[in-house]
């Protein structure tokens, strides 16, 4: 049992290390000054080797050890980093990732033979490139670590704060067998166990450092507990590979002095995760070009997604009840004899509102994952695909720290891959073509993400050849998707929309990179499943931008409740710009179609009822209000019969039979208990 637990901890560690290493490698290829990166890759290999050895995974040890040797010679300056070595590192990474998957799934592990031959070839070939021998060389296989001595200022401050309070502080010193291979796992285990039974103020090294790969053989834990730290000591003693545990009261002597006299080299706000290990290498500043890094993720527990969904559902019910209570309160308040009770209930309802809102936000946040979790693989993917297409492409990520609901993230993974493939394969021109056009030889693809109101916008922009509306029209006509006459009438924007038609693909032939029979229509429907939207903007010769708009969460939204022919519909407020009362004489006609002029802008006016009957221009003089919204990025005024109000609604699925209806985003239960349909105005027409 312990074995499987160790294995799963190890595999998680490997997963993180591989992700980081992959980013590091892509980074390394771009910049020549990569000593800090080499150091980090070396450390990753070393950590994996250690874990593999403990678990008796000889193949993993063999590969990482060989790679470690090569990296060590680069680190010490005996050998130069060549493209051969970078390629080899990518191969090793792929092998490790297959190896990891095999361990996870219990499948067959990949053979080491071919890979080892390549590693040995590189090792042999490089022997004739001597550089002046290096001053300090770390003993091969021993990752450097800092002896726990100096307290980090943050911890020192926390200790001082704790000492100022009445409860005594204890210092638990745990010595581990330095020969034990899985030290970081052991340290982590000890920290977690002690944390469960005592109030841990901090430790040297910290839990985050241990998570980041530091492997000390001594651990200092500062704690407070009801039993003078006795149970903490016992727990630490019970951990495997622990050789000695001592417990002493801690009075903080010398702490104040050291804190005031000390000169911290690190400036606040310049904490570099890459330097966490305290490596004393000559390249402290090289860390600056490490762009993306998994930073301190805080203390975490794993929670089953189903449990989160259940909690969220319960919160949803709570939100509905809260709304009902406030409605009852206002009814009571409205009549004289019950006004006092009504006021009390209203106050209670306001309190309930605050609590449930915080609860709701908390659970919602628990469902969020950083965008980075799906973007991490893209730099490597772009690198591989562009070299396969013979193109030179710089890839930039912006806003990857944004967080999104996991359901949304899962739904946009494949679409983003598809969009990037398109950009690489069809968007960016070949280097020669670019030169001839007077463009820089290297193409550029930028994937950026940002918040806009309560949406997350993700944009993939390339500076390639752009899409020609005329060519798209021709192609659509040729494929019989549209008639020549209809095509002639389309605006450029409408022509671009054609790429989302099922069966459309402008590629002259399907290529390995982007032609897989999946089209932009699938991309669009994937996104619409999570209430997302996709738009394409393109200019011939200058490039294409694909814009995804995604909801922050799927579960609870604010919505405007409107009435139409006696039925209540919900429109998410994110897609409502404004609501107006409409008088019949304000309705103008433009080319025979109804329109409203709002502060100088013209909004085509359609009735909601007509839209839902697929006859948007249906004459209907009944509507009293207009909801200003957008459809396909163009303004639209929706005529409705009545406004009911704004509510927080819980989005529920409509089930398979009704899931793909155009203009319909789901259903909800209204405070009165009736179900209602949620409209998706962007696809209403």
């Amino acid at each position: 049992m312990e074995y499987t637990e160790d294995l799963s901890i190890f595999l998680e560690e490997v997963d993180e290390l591989l992700t980081n290493t992959e980013q590091n490698l892509v980074e390394l290829e771009k910049s020549s000054s990569g000593e800090a990166i080499i150091q980090e890759i070396f450390r990753a290999m070393h950590t994996i080797k250690g874990g593999a050895a403990t678990l008796g995974l000889e193949d993993g040890v063999e590969v990482t050890h060989a790679m470690e040797n090569i990296l060590d010679t680069i680190r010490s300056g005996e050998r130069k980093l060549t493209p051969d070595i970078t390629d080899l590192l990518f191969l090793v990474l792929d092998w490790l990732s297959d190896w990891k998957t095999a361990l996870e799934t219990g499948g067959e592990r990949p053979p080491t033979g071919d890979l080892m031959i390549r590693i040995q070839a590189v090792q042999a070939a490089e022997a004739d490139a001597p550089v002046e021998s290096a001053g300090v060389s770390h003993p091969s296989g021993g990752a450097p670590f800092k002896k726990p001595s100096a307290l980090d200022p943050d911890l020192a401050h926390r200790l001082l704060e704790a000492l100022d309070q009445a409860m005594p502080v204890y210092k638990l010193v745990v010595k581990l067998n330095p020969e034990a291979e899985l030290l970081s796992v052991r340290c982590f285990q000890i920290l977690v166990l002690v944390d469960e039974i005592a109030d841990v103020i901090g430790s040297v090294p910290s839990k985050e450092d241990v998570e980041a790969g530091e492997t000390p053989d001594e651990l200092e834990i500062y704690l407070r507990s009801d039993d003078q730290g006795i149970s903490a000591k016992q727990v630490a003693e019970s951990v495997q590979d622990v050789v000695q545990v001592s417990l002493v009261p801690y009075d903080g002597s010398g702490l104040r002095e050291s804190l005031s006299s000390r000169q911290w080299d690190e400036q606040p706000g310049e904490v570099k995760a890459g330097d966490k290990g305290g490596d004393s290498g000559p390249d402290k500043d090289a860390g600056a070009d490490l762009v993306i890094r998994k930073t301190n993720l805080g203390r975490t527990v794993r929670v089953n997604v189903d449990l989160l969904d259940l909690l969220l559902n319960l919160v949803g019910e709570l939100v509905i009840d809260r709304t009902r209570i406030s409605q009852i309160a206002s009814r009571l308040q409205a009549s004289e004899p019950t006004a006092v009770t009504g006021n009390e209930l209203a106050a209670l309802s306001a309190r309930l509102q605050r609590t449930s809102q915080e609860l709701q936000e908390g659970i919602m946040k628990a469902r969020l994952l950083p965008l980075m979790s799906i973007l991490a693989k893209f730099p490597r993917m772009v690198r591989d695909l562009s070299s396969r297409c013979g193109k030179k492409i710089d890839f930039e990520l912006q806003g990857e720290r944004l967080e999104l609901d996991r359901t949304v993230l899962e739904a946009i993974d494949d679409p983003l891959i598809h969009i990037l493939r398109n950009a690489i394969d069809h968007g960016i021109e070949s280097p020669d073509e670019r030169k001839a056009l007077g463009k820089p030889e290297r193409g550029k693809i930028t994937l950026s993400a940002w918040h806009q109101e309560n949406q997350v916008v993700i944009q993939v922009r390339d500076d390639g050849r752009g899409m020609d509306p005329e060519r798209i029209k021709e192609s659509a006509v040729r494929k019989g998707l549209i008639t020549t006459e209809a095509a002639a009438k389309l605006s450029d924007r409408e022509a671009l929309e054609l790429i989302f038609t099922p069966g459309f693909s402008t590629a002259k032939q399907a290529t390995e990179v982007s032609g897989r029979g999946v089209g932009m229509d699938v991309v669009r429907s994937n996104l619409e499943r999570v209430n997302g939207h996709i738009e394409v903007r393109s200019q011939v010769g200058t490039g294409t931008a694909v814009v995804l708009r995604l909801p922050l969460t799927l579960a609870i939204v604010r919505a405007l409740l409107v009435e139409c022919s006696g039925i209540t519909y919900a429109i998410p407020t994110s897609s409502v710009d404004e609501v107006l009362a409409v008088h019949p004489d304000e309705i103008k006609t433009v080319k025979g179609k109804a329109a409203l002029t709002v502060r100088g802008s013209v909004f085509p006016l359609v009735s909601l009822e007509g839209c839902l009957k697929d006859d948007p221009w249906m004459r209907n003089g009944n509507f009293k209000y207009a909801v200003l919204t957008r459809t396909h990025d163009e303004p639209l005024a929706l005529g409705v019969d009545g406004l009911i109000g704004e509510e927080e609604i819980v989005v529920k699925e409509l089930g398979k039979i009704l899931s793909r209806l155009k203009g319909i985003g789901g259903a909800t239960i209204l405070p009165q208990g009736d179900p209602a349909v949620i409209l998706d105005t962007t696809s209403l027409i």
């Binding site: 099922p502 203009g663 259903a667």
Partner: protein
Amino acid sequence: MSSNQNTHEDTTKRETGHERQIVAFCLGSETYGVDIQKVREIIPIQKIVPVPRAPDFVEGIINLRGKVIAVLDLRKHFGFEKKEPTPEQRIVLTESDGERIGIIVDSVSSVLRISENSIEPPASVIAGDEVDYIQGIAKVNDSLIVLLDLTRIISDAERRTLKQVDLASALVK
């Protein structure tokens, strides 16, 4: 049929061992039956909110204890003429692939045990391949009960929806 007769029939059939329990309900003048194991619940008719653009055999959605459930009108599914709502109407809730779906019926008559021997395959009675959701016809006391496969009806409904949606999205304005 009297209850006496039923009890008698029950005991005789139990001896043979080849029988099944069905929920019998009426649609128009005909009696239909569904396997009791497919029926989760039978609830009185309640407020059904129409869903725009839904296929016409989907009557709308209801709120079943906080869940939104689609309700199908079997009359429309079978092409019967529309009927004004009556107090006898019920919604039979069934589950298919973990998804609950309601079916409106004119009235629920009873739960019956019928012998496998009394069930005839549909092909001998009705022709056509649109009837694969008819499992068979049972003869019970001189009356005929059409046994329906609810799972098939639902997958058939899903297929029809998809066809409708694909057609709609393939039409470029």
